[in-house]
């Protein structure tokens, strides 16, 4: 470990983020490289922690940030957190490098300082999020990464779609966040602690009853599905594709969206004994992966397709997590790493393609294979990894998930995962076909990007190809750092390997049929039952429409209530009933003041009688009582 690691962890990205606008102001051309330097430095710092953790040492550190309410910056670094931190910093570094060239053209219209500043802020927040042990601090950074995501989705702020998408992303995830906050607070009131390790210890020693954890457990799941875009809170991620492509690669594929999974894995020891907790995660994962894979099948926007694919793959992580600490934790983490790598690669490639073609619709692409050679090959690497083709990373990680499912007897989940793998293969191949192979009547102008953009692609491509072979290294890393991880030796399970291979074969067969009979299929999709399925899938299974209906109804109700209550009841009550009533009473009283002197004299007589009655009241009462 480097000296002052903890300080550097926080300081480098955040100070970098703060300084970027200044650098951008004084040296406009250097700000990109300044950001690269900052990202690289943080990567170095994170990498420097690896040896310690590898050797089984768990670095910890506490800074009393806001002691009064337990908001203390506590670091607890184990393999899981470090893995996420590594992904964040290294992919972050690659993305920043990529951006230097990619974002160049935006310089005139938008201030790039904002971009780099936010990216650095994001990297720093992500690192802190995964390394901290304090749930409240976790929530703090959880929100900051959401904030960066919001700001970067809406980076092209004068595009109404982007502005809307940013807001949608933040508000939707905020629903999850609110529940996460409830969970954290309820957990706090029940355990009097925000520290995950303390709570785990308390749960393990049995000093706290798990039965009361149902509410926080459910809240944590809701928090996770918001951030990781699982059903029913997944609607923000496809829209988030309005962000610049590097941001999609970094935030919406490789890092932030993994935070939800990370949270589930992190708190799993706390809630593992809560009834149905794991099952709920598994069901959410299973449903999500199926639905979004189908949506990916019919999507024609390249980035949205990748977004659906991301949701679907994240659902794998959820599903894997539901296999418990022993089997699920590692398989989930492993796929997380692999998926982060290849999906970032795919997004960067897509970015290069879109940059070059000038459109995001795959209908505007086609026949790009020869025009963008390097990009094509890198996309193929990513796509094979996504589709789980041997020997790319995805094959190994998915295989591990299948095997874990079988080992833990989750057969239904196994079938769902396998079927989704088939769908995955199909939409991947469709994508490749539409973008690179499909023949077009007209020519599309396209060319490979510059070397600065290609370098990150190559690095990630190599990762997608080779990461699968590092399964055991990673396992060693996990077991060394006290993570209670066991793992199935994937290849020992012939069923799972067989399944993987069968899927590959069937997938290719179906795809062959698709390529040859594409027109027929398109016609089929417009008729009969399939058409309604098709339109449902292409409309995102009406989730968006439902939410819009909900919000619209709410606003309409709000308006009604405003008119009925604020204007109607309160104002009318105050002005008409109370004030008007009093004045009416006054008008009545007014008649008593006749202005006639004779009446006034009668008033005097009445007054005299009243006074006499009151004065003699005791005597009268005495008299009456005496009479009785």
């Amino acid at each position: 470990m480097l000296p002052y690691t903890y300080l550097l962890l926080i300081a480098i990205p955040f100070i970098g983020a703060a300084l970027t606008p200044l650098v951008g102001h004084f040296f406009p051309r250097a700000k990109g490289w300044f950001a690269v330097a900052c990202a690289a430095l943080s990567a170095v710092v994170v990498v420097s922690i690896i040896p310690d953790v590898w050797n089984g040492y768990t670095p910890g550190y506490t800074y009393l940030w806001n002691d009064a309410i337990g908001l203390n910056l506590t670091f607890y670094i184990d393999a899981l957190g470090l893995l996420l931190a590594l992904i964040a910093t290294i992919i972050g570094l690659l993305v920043v490098i990529y951006s230097v060239k990619y974002m160049e053209t935006d310089e005139k219209k938008y201030n790039l300082s904002r971009y780099y500043s936010l990216v650095l802020l994001f990297i720093g927040a992500m690192v802190c999020l995964v390394l901290t042990d304090n749930l409240l601090v976790l929530y703090f950074f959880w929100e900051i990464v959401g904030l960066c995501s919001y700001a970067l989705i809406g980076y092209y702020y004068d595009d109404p779609k982007a502005a809307k998408a940013g807001m949608k992303a933040f508000v939707t995830t905020r629903v999850g966040d609110a529940f996460l906050l409830i969970g954290i607070i309820v957990l706090y009131w029940q355990t009097k602690s925000f520290n995950i390790q303390e709570i785990i210890l308390a749960v393990e020693t049995g000093s706290i009853s798990v039965s009361s954890f149902a509410l926080p457990g459910a809240c944590f799941i809701l928090g996770a599905i918001g951030k990781s875009a699982q059903i029913p809170l997944h609607v923000w991620l496809p829209d988030a594709m309005e962000a610049p492509s590097p941001i999609s690669a970094l935030i919406h594929a490789a890092t932030m969206v993994n935070a939800g999974i990370y949270l589930i894995l992190r708190v799993m020891p706390i809630f593992i004994d809560v009834q149905y907790w794991l099952l709920a995660i598994g069901i959410i994962g299973g449903v999500t992966m199926l639905i979004t894979a189908i949506q990916a099948l019919v999507e024609i926007d390249l980035k949205r397709l990748l977004a659906y694919s991301t949701i679907s793959q994240l659902a794998y992580l959820m599903l894997a997590a539901s296999f418990g600490v022993t089997y699920g934790l590692f398989s989930s983490s492993f796929h997380l790493l692999v998926h982060g790598t290849f999906k970032a690669l795919l997004f960067l490639c897509a970015g290069a393609i879109i940059h070059s073609v000038g459109s995001r619709s795959m209908m505007d692409m086609g026949g790009l294979k020869n025009k963008m050679r390097y990009t094509f090959w890198m996309t193929m690497f990513g796509a094979f990894a996504l589709a789980g083709i041997f020997p790319f990373g995805g094959f190994w990680s998915k295989d591990l998930i299948f095997a874990s499912a079988l080992k833990t007897s989750h057969y239904l989940f196994f079938i769902v995962a396998a079927f989704t793998a088939l769908l995955t293969l199909l939409y991947t191949l469709r994508m490749i076909y539409l973008v690179f192979y499909r023949k077009r009547d007209d020519e599309v102008e396209a060319h490979d990007p510059s070397i600065i953009m290609l370098v990150p692609l190559f690095i990630l491509g190599i990762g997608a190809l080779t990461l699968g072979f590092f399964e055991h290294t990673l396992l060693h890393f996990f077991t060394n750092s006290n993570m209670h991880v066991e793992v199935v030796e994937g290849l020992e399970y012939f069923i799972s390997v067989g399944a993987s291979i069968t899927i590959m074969v069937i997938g290719f067969l179906i795809f062959r049929y698709y390529v040859h009979n594409r027109d027929k299929l398109i016609a089929l999709s417009k008729s009969g039952i399939t058409s309604s399925l098709y339109s449902a899938a292409s409309n995102g299974f009406y989730f968006d429409r439902f939410y819009l209906w909900l919000i619209g109804g709410l606003l309409a109700t709000g308006r009604t209530v405003y008119h009925k209550f604020d204007i109607g009841a309160t104002d009318r009550f105050c002005y008409e009933t109370v004030a008007g009533g009093t004045i009416k009473l006054g008008q009545k009283f007014r008649h008593a003041q006749t202005g006639d002197l004779n009446y006034n004299m009668v008033g005097i007589v009445i007054g005299a009688i009243l006074v006499t009655i009151l004065i003699f009241l005791p005597s009268i009462i005495d008299f009456l009582m005496g009479g009785v």
Binding site: T582, G586, Q593, L597, G603, A608, V611, I615, S619
Partner: protein, 501 residues
């Protein structure tokens, strides 16, 4: 210094006004006669203060005009008299300053000022009288001066109608009060305050005396504008010249009430069934509520203020009535009641003077015609706002301070007392209901009405009077101890009489 000195000064003043006025008329500066009146008031105030220092120190001074022990005419300077005297003379002083410009266009100023001085003389005399009949005489002096002053602009319809109503009702009241005095005289054979208490406790049959109490309350109640005896008040207050309205509202109706409690005090120390405190408090509640509700619907500024006076009398009645009923425990009621007489004199005086100033410039009494007057007459309107908020009991103005003491008395008593407090608090919201719209109209109305546009700030003497009263209203709110310093000896004195059976 003997207590007759202020009276002599004032009476001399009333007569000196004539030659002075004659002399000034020759140089066409008749209106300056107000300065002479103010001078006399100043001297009288000074002499009262000189007496006050002695009285507060504990030496009551008595001046015997004539008579033997059983029936004598005495002037006795006790803290209560000093209290009333100081308020009355200062109000007279301020009103005479105000009237210098306000009455500039009127004729017969010699009569106006001498009547004003006589009015004040009557009030001072009410305080100083050592026996009931003397008190009655001074009371009538005050009444008669005020009859003439109300109907001073006798060419117009309104003063005549109001004046006539005022005379008839007030004279009837006086007669009833006098009837009560005659009963007391018949039963006890004396009218001297010092002797009465002893005589009363010797009397076995109390029914005539209780009847006398009834007639006292009704008789002086007409003057004190207790509902339902108040009907003369809105007419008279609205019809009188504003300076006189200020006097009427500020001190004359309180003097009626003062005369009543002065006599009732004798009974409070005796074994007589003391139900009258409760009666007063009940009438207080009715009075304040009716006054407020009536004021709510007025569009005539002065009439609104007049009804507000009815309300404020209600507060005083509640405070002092409860004090009569409960004695020492309800001390705050006496403090509050007397303090409210003090603060009300100044704040209602201020309100009427401002109203007079505005009417003087605008030429109408309709509030709706005064839109935006705050822009053309900022100081006057601001002073009116201070008076209005103070009357509505908004701190930190003096009205809140005195009302707070009246709220307090109900709490000190507990039980039923809480009801009185609750009603009093509720009424302070009601009173905001007419002051606030009025202030709003003055300042915040978007368009300035045609009449208000032509208005400008009033002449110096009026402004001076207004500013003095506004300052007093604020100062008594921030530092009520200045006021309570005058009130406190009077409270002690009254408590002494109540407990001294």
């Amino acid at each position: 210094m003997t207590p007759i000195i202020p009276l002599i000064i004032l009476i001399v003043g009333a007569f000196v006004i004539y030659p002075c006025s004659e002399a000034l008329r020759r140089v066409k500066k008749e209106y300056l006669v107000g300065i002479i009146a103010a001078l006399f008031f100043t001297v009288a105030l000074w002499s009262t203060l000189v007496i006050a220092v002695d009285v507060w120190a504990g030496t009551e001074s008595t001046y015997c005009l004539a008579g033997a022990t059983a029936f004598r005419i005495t002037l006795r300077a006790d803290p209560l008299a000093i209290f009333l005297g100081i308020i009355a003379i200062s109000m007279g002083l301020i009103v005479s300053i105000y009237s210098i410009n306000y009455m500039k266009e009127d004729t017969r100023l010699d009569k106006y000022y001498s009547l004003l001085i006589l009015l004040v003389t009557g009030i001072v005399g009410i305080g100083l009288s050592g026996d009931i009949f003397n008190l009655y005489v001074f009371f009538e002096l005050m009444c008669i001066s005020s009859y003439v002053l109300v109907a001073f602009r006798r060419e117009n319809w309104e003063p005549i109608e109001a004046g006539f109503k005022y005379i008839v009702m007030s004279a009837t009241g006086s007669c009833i009060a006098l009837f009560a005095i005659s009963i007391i005289f018949a039963q006890t054979g004396t009218l001297d305050f010092a002797l009465l208490a002893g005589e009363i406790s010797n009397i076995s049959n109390q029914t005539p005396l209780l009847a006398a109490v009834c007639f006292l309350i009704v008789g002086f109640g007409v003057k004190a504008a207790i509902v339902p005896l108040h009907t003369w008040l809105p007419d008279a207050h609205a019809a009188a010249p504003s300076g006189i309205s200020a006097m009427l509202s500020g001190i004359v109706i309180q003097s009626g009430f003062f005369a009543m409690i002065r006599i009732l005090l004798i009974f409070s120390g005796t074994s007589l069934t003391q139900n009258f405190g409760f009666t007063l408090a009940i009438f207080g509640l009715i009075t304040m509520t009716v006054g407020n509700i009536m004021a709510l619907v007025q569009t005539d500024l002065k009439r609104m203020l007049a009804y507000s006076s009815v309300t404020q009398m209600g507060y005083i009645l509640v405070g002092i009535g409860l004090a009569f009923e409960f004695g020492e425990i309800a001390r705050a009621g006496l403090e509050g009641g007397l303090f409210h007489i003090l603060t009300h004199a100044f704040m209602k005086g201020l309100a009427f003077l401002c109203a007079g100033a505005i009417i003087y410039r605008v030429g109408t009494r309709d509030i709706r015609e005064m839109k935006g007057i705050g822009r053309t007459m900022p100081l006057t309107a601001l002073a009116f706002a201070i008076a209005g908020l103070s009357l509505a009991g908004v701190p930190p103005l003096s009205g809140f301070m005195s009302k707070w003491l009246i709220y307090k008395v109900g709490l000190d008593i507990g039980g039923w007392g809480l009801f009185f407090t609750g009603m009093a608090v509720f009424n302070s919201i009601l009173s905001l209901g007419y002051y606030l719209p009025a202030i709003n109209t003055f300042f915040f109305a978007k368009e300035t009405s045609g009449l208000a546009k032509k208005a400008k700030e009033v002449p110096l003497s009026m402004l001076m009077a207004i500013c003095i009263l506004a300052a007093i209203t604020i100062i008594l709110g921030i530092a009520p101890m200045f006021g309570l310093r005058i009130v406190d000896p009077a409270v002690e004195f009254m408590l002494g009489l109540m407990g001294g059976a």
